[in-house]
Symmetry: C2
Subunit: 245 residues, 2 copies
Amino acid sequence: MISQGRHRRALRDRWNVAKSEKNAEDRKVVMIEATQRNGAATRMRILMAAEGEFADHGFDGATVRQIALRADIPVALVNYHFGNKEGLYRAIFEMRAPMIVDQRIAGLRLAEMEPDPERKVEMIVKAVLVPNLHMRSTEKNSSYARILAREVSDPKSHHRKVVAEFFDPIAYKVIEALQRAMPDRTVEEINWGYQAMLGVMVYTMADTGRISRLSGGLCDPEDEMTTSRHLVALMKAALLYSRVS
Amino acid sequence: MISQGRHRRALRDRWNVAKSEKNAEDRKVVMIEATQRNGAATRMRILMAAEGEFADHGFDGATVRQIALRADIPVALVNYHFGNKEGLYRAIFEMRAPMIVDQRIAGLRLAEMEPDPERKVEMIVKAVLVPNLHMRSTEKNSSYARILAREVSDPKSHHRKVVAEFFDPIAYKVIEALQRAMPDRTVEEINWGYQAMLGVMVYTMADTGRISRLSGGLCDPEDEMTTSRHLVALMKAALLYSRVS
DNA sequence: AGCAGATTTGAACAAGTTGACAAGATACCT
DNA sequence: AGGTATCTTGTCAACTTGTTCAAATCTGCT
């Protein structure tokens, strides 16, 4: 009871020291997955397992024990490497978010160079949708896509901060790009258009089989190419040809 | 251990008897919220509290104790009235789903009578979106909207089967209506269009403030009228004017 | 009034949860 | 080779979880 606070602080300190100790860390990264005993390697094993469990059961549904079991390591290692359950959760975003954000920024840069307005809008739509849909269909990252989908419908404070922290900046960039591409539209129209795009994307990424079931197997989110073509076409039309009555 | 099965059956039987005992039930409904001791009234109190808790924390995140606390009743009453946690969860859908489904069916009937193809599509879109968006903006039902959003991104819901049971039938009706309204489109196009519509709807319903934040307060899902106009316009354009490359 | 059944209550249970720790094992540097 | 910091391990205690129980209380009917 009395010592709980002290113990927690001690652990947190040890952990932070380990994190900031860049020298040792970097040295080990080069030999990742080499020896049996390697902090960076087990860290990654835990992250992968956690990603799967969080995707399948949500933050509250997933248990640290199940994650440890899946990673085939003792439970205590999770707490050693990530402090606590929430630290582990954030670590997943710190690992994955840059991947998506960088791809989107690259896509936006390409779109900026396109002179034709219609093509430009199409390229912006692609810049937003394609990176995520690709991730969805990739075996290893499909779990992260489902975690992301859960986030948007979760009002919990610590969860919300994660989304805001990692994805709000790129969101503003996309909205600005849309405004430049369609200067005749009101700011409301642009914003609702962006939200619609996000909604379609998240819904597709999070799908757990309903799309395929309802379409009699005709539509399959796993089929990245076909999914992208249909969704891009839909959202391009929505952005370009919608008129608010 | 040994008696667990028998006890559970006994409880379930008692519960079913209480449910089918329409005479007693009906008599009590008239005096709902009247006396301190009233099965139907406490049932409703628990349902309301549960709706809020499930919306805020998800199925796993919500605890029966917190629900009981919110409803200001002892914990055991939850299990008495609904059998178990999942029974309580399903009861929420049994209460809310018919409301939505009926409104959609009515909307589809109206659309079916419209001769102009473009207007027909618009009316189908409205039949799908408006009932849910209206529910979202109603104070009392806003929690249910978030529960619904969680459910579609939760693979465990597959196990709970509640979405399929309550909403697949009406989904098929909508898809068929779209097919009749746009006979030149492929089945894939129709299906992806429907999924996009659902995605936009669910995303907007589940929103926890991000839409307003990103738009600088300009777009507000609480404003049912404006939200509907924008989303309907977007999805109408998406369905009517999209061309897969 | 009195009975029977429905409802409520507080307490308890078993299973499973997180986070903690001390002791052991390993790798790296001087 | 020895010291030091990093990493691993098995085990533990404190706490929550969903669910159940037996007894108390109320309601409507005969």
